[in-house]
Each structure stands twice: as C-alpha cells, then as structure tokens.
C-alpha cells in the first residue's frame, strides 16, 4: 500500500510538469490550430535560463528570494523567447497552409536543440551556448538536514512538494486568467473565430502573442521545477518531455485548458504505475501507447468535443 501511494505521489509530481508544458501546447493550438513542436525546447531553455541566472556572479546562497528570482527570471526569458518565436517564425506564415507552420515549428525545435549544443561562442561570464555535455542545475533551496517529508511511509522531497504547490498555483492562476479575465475571454473568442474576434475590436495578433508569452512562461516554470528535483540538464532533455506533454494535451482534448491539466496528471500517474509495477524500461513507451489509444478510441480527447473537420 505504501508503494502504491509512493507511486501516486511521484506520478503527480511528474504529471504536474507535463501539465504545465501541455498548457502551452493546448493554448497555442487553441488560438492558431498549430502544434508548436518547439514548445518542449522552450521548456529546456527555461531550465537553462534558471541555470544561467543561478550561476552568474558566483551563485549565492540558496534562499527563497533567490529561488523566486530565478523562477521569475526564467519565466520572463522564456516569455520573450515565445514572443520572438511567434513573431518571426510563425506569424509571417500565418496565411500559408497549416503544414508550413508545422514544419517551421519542427525547424525552430531543431534550432534550439542544436543551437544549444554548439561550442560556446564566449566563456565569460558563463559559457554560452552551453554545448552538448550535461550541466547541473544549482540548488535553489537548502532544506538542511531533513530535505524530505515523510508520512505513512511515503517519502516526498520538500523541493518536490514545493514544486507541486507552485505548479498547482500556476494552473489555478491560468484557469482564472482564461475564464475570468477580459484577456482570457478574448483568447477564447480568438480560438473560436479570429475574424469575428477582430470585429469585436480584439487585437488578434496581440492576443496570439500574449498566448505564446503565457504558454512559454509556464514551460519555463516547469523547467525550473523539474530541474530543482532532477538537476541534470542538457540541450536535448526537452524533447521527450515535450512529446509527452503533447500526448497529455491530446489526452485531455487539444485546445482544452482544464483538459491539458488533467491529461498531464493522468499521464504522469499512469506512467509511474506502469513503470513501477512492471519495468521502468516501459516508461517512455507508455506515453505513446496512450497517444495511440486516444487517437484510436477517442480522438477528441477526454474533455474535448468531437468536431467534424470541414473539407
């Protein structure tokens, strides 16, 4: 029974990471009907932004203020990155066939993955690009001699618990933004019909930009939360998480914000149980088995509404 709960906790912890990334996929899909395959790499850049912010100037002692500064800093960096990607890679192709944008997204993804593996252009104050060898994310918080919580035999590192709380808070905040604010209503209007949204006086391009900024900032937060607990980072580590988060978004119903959250959690927990009770070599296969099952049995996702593709 203890094992069951331990897996649950681990699964939820990984699941919130998937959920945060999946939100970016689903929101961008909502407004542009584009699968932004570069999104997993924005998550990677988020972790590296935190790494750089944490190591510049010798680092400093772990503290809440430093953790907050690094998290917010990475979110801002990635927000800008998301803005730039949309503005210069996707917007010029907006009127072209959708496949063009999709291929461009894969191109942006490669650009980030392989750009970050180049030999550094400069070494001071920090080597950038980081190059292909893994780096270790700085410790953001020092919990002293008792870094883990324990109850009923289940062990939860405090950093994971904190990450979980932060992830849930961000999801609640996003839920509020999407369903309770003027911007969120505009975003949902653009996702339903951008032309008519323009007729309401909604600046459609600005809403699309903001959607990328928001989604990318969430990916950065996910990058920081993940790297605080699993500190080894390298330029390709966004690939698998990105693909799994994409599966989570499809599982929840692509374009559906609560669906992405539920899909991420469900995928994280499923993965953990299957890996825990059979063999961890199945871990990565689970996500894609789930994708195949969803596409076969319920292509609109758990929370999506079936739509007929107009020809």
């Amino acid at each position: 029974m203890t094992e069951f709960f331990q897996h649950l906790v681990n699964g939820v912890s990984v699941g919130t990471i998937y959920a945060l990334i999946a939100l970016g996929y689903t929101m961008v899909y909502g407004v542009l009907k584009l699968i932004n395959f570069a999104h997993g790499d924005v998550y990677m850049v988020g972790a590296f932004s935190g790494y750089y912010l944490g190591t510049v100037g010798g680092g400093g002692q772990p503290s809440f203020i430093r953790a907050a500064y690094i998290t917010l800093g990475a979110m801002i960096v990635c927000g800008l990155l998301g803005y730039v990607i949309e503005r210069f890679a996707y917007r010029p192709l907006r009127d072209q066939a959708r496949l063009t944008s999709l291929i461009t997204a894969i191109g942006v993804s490669f650009l980030l993955e392989y750009g970050f593996q180049l030999t550094p252009w400069f070494r001071e104050p920090v080597p950038f690009p980081p190059g292909p060898s893994p780096r270790f994310f700085p410790t953001l918080l020092d919990f002293g001699p008792a870094p883990s919580l324990e109850f009923l035999g289940v062990t939860v590192p405090k950093i994971d618990a904190l990450g979980l709380v932060l992830a849930l808070a961000l999801m609640l905040l996003l839920q509020h933004i999407v369903y309770r604010t003027r911007f969120g209503t505009a975003m949902r209007a653009v996702s339903f019909d951008p032309q008519v949204a323009g007729l309401m006086g909604i600046p459609v391009n600005r809403i699309i930009s903001m959607t990328f900024v928001l989604g990318s900032a969430l990916a950065a937060a996910a990058g920081i939360i993940n790297a605080s607990s699993r500190p080894k980072i390298e330029p390709l580590f966004g690939l698998m998480s990105g693909l799994k988060a994409f599966v989570a978004a499809v599982l929840g119903g692509i374009g559906n914000v609560p669906g992405a959250m539920a899909g991420g959690l469900l995928l994280g927990v499923t993965e953990e149980y299957v890996a825990g009770y059979t063999s961890s070599s199945y871990r990565d296969a689970i996500a894609f088995a789930v994708l195949i099952l969803v596409l076969l049995l319920r292509p609109e996702g758990l929370f999506g509404r079936a739509t007929v593709e107009k020809v």
Binding site: Q195, V196, G198, L199, M200, G201, P203, V204
Partner: protein, 240 residues
C-alpha cells in the same frame, strides 16, 4: 436625399478571391443616420462588400472612408474602434462562450463598466430571452436567439454604423418582426445601418436608400420606395 454628410463612402471597391473578381468596383454611400440596403442574388457580392468594408478581408483596390477617414488599410479591430459594428454572415456568435460573455465582447473596447452594464440591461429588455439564457453557452441557443444575440452584441459597442448581414435568414416570421423592430429603434436613436437582406421587401421598406448588386457591380440604386416601385426590382427580387 438626407442633408447629413456621408458616414461611409465606398469608392470603386474591388475584391479578388484568387483569380475570381468578386467585387468589380463597387461605389456606395451611407449618410449619417440612414438605413441603406444592399439587395441582389446570391453571389452578387453583398456579403463580400460588408466584409471588405469592415476589413474582414483585404480589398484589392478602391477606398473605404469611414467618418471622413480612409480605413482601407486598417486591421478590422481598428476599423471597429472607430465606431463600426459588423454582425457577420452566419451570425458570428462565439458558440463556446456564454450569452453574457458574447455581449461583453461586443463592448470589448469600452472601459465604462457602468455604461456597459446598463447596455447589457437594455439588450435584455429588447430581447428578454437573452436574459433568461445569459449564463448559457451560446451554442445551446436556437437560430433565432443567436440572431438576436448577434444584433444585441453589435449594439454593445455603441456604434455609429452597423453592418448587418442577413439578419432574417432562416428565422420564423415573428422573430424577423422582432429583429426588424429593434433595428428600426436602433436607427431611430441615430445609428446608421448598412443592411444586406435576402428579404428584399422588408429591407426596402426599412431603407432610406438601396443598391442592387449583380455579379460584383452596382446595377441600380435609389430610395427604398423607388426600388420597391421599380418593375425590374419587383420582377427579379420581390418575386412578382
């Protein structure tokens, strides 16, 4: 003719869909406070004209002046910001949003909360069914209710000019009466209307001026009464 100046001037407007020329140089005018109707067969270019005026699509030539300003190259949200509202073909309701959210989006550019709230109340008074359904997702409304919502939403920006695309299409006669009644009231309050209607009889009765479109050009124009009396119009569009 009305003595008020034109609120909308369209000169030699051209639109291409690929190689097809949908508008071949349309010119028309709406005077302040007037109702102008566009009538014509399917495919004559009525909807395209409205879409080009509100910049839902990009004209390939010609000019649109709204309240004295050239708006031909502005994005549609900027045209709307200058006092135009467009209830598009097919109603353009956000079916994923609630009735209230649809109305609020009509007032997206306004910041006066009190004014917006009182306009929402006015919309509920004009169309009581919308008040009953205010929290419902608009996708659950009937066609007539969606059309009422489209008209009510267009009023929410307090426009100077409303473009209406087939507000009576597919609706029961009582609903049509209700909507035309409201349009008459809206016009009486000083809002100019540019109306596309397949119900030519109703449109011409309401209109101060009307234009007859055929294959992307204006083939006839006059006051509503003149066109109602014209033998060609009676034969081609009034089914007589």
């Amino acid at each position: 003719m009305s003595d008020a100046g034109p609120i909308l001037e369209v000169k030699d407007l051209r639109v291409h869909y690929g190689a097809i020329e949908a508008l071949r140089g349309i010119s028309l005018e709406v005077s302040d406070g007037q109702v102008v109707a566009l009538i014509g067969a399917n495919g004559a270019g009525k909807t395209t004209t409205l879409r080009a005026v509100s910049r839902m699509l990009r004209p390939s030539g010609g000019q649109v002046r709204f309240r004295g300003e050239d708006v031909t190259r502005l994005p549609s949200h900027a045209v709307v910001a200058r006092g135009m509202a467009h209830a598009p073909e097919g109603r353009g309701i956000f079916l994923n949003l609630s009735v209230r959210e649809n109305l609020d989006l009509g007032a997206y550019l306004r910041r006066d909360r009190a004014g917006i709230a009182s306009d929402v109340e006015r919309a509920y008074t004009l169309f009581p069914i919308l008040a009953e359904r205010r929290a419902q997702v608009a996708g659950t409304l009937s066609g007539g209710e969606q059309q009422m919502l489209a008209v009510a939403r267009a009023m929410m920006s307090r426009p100077k000019l409303m473009l209406l695309d087939e507000p009576s299409l597919g609706l029961a006669p009582q609903v049509v009466e209700r909507i035309f009644g409201v349009l008459r009231e809206v016009n009486a309050s000083g809002v100019a209307l540019l109306l596309v209607e397949q119900n030519a009889h109703k449109a011409l009765q309401l209109a101060h001026r009307a234009y007859v479109l055929e294959t992307g050009t204006v083939v006839m124009q006059g006051t509503g009464r003149e066109l109602l009396a014209s033998p060609e119009v009676r034969k081609a569009y009034l089914g007589e």
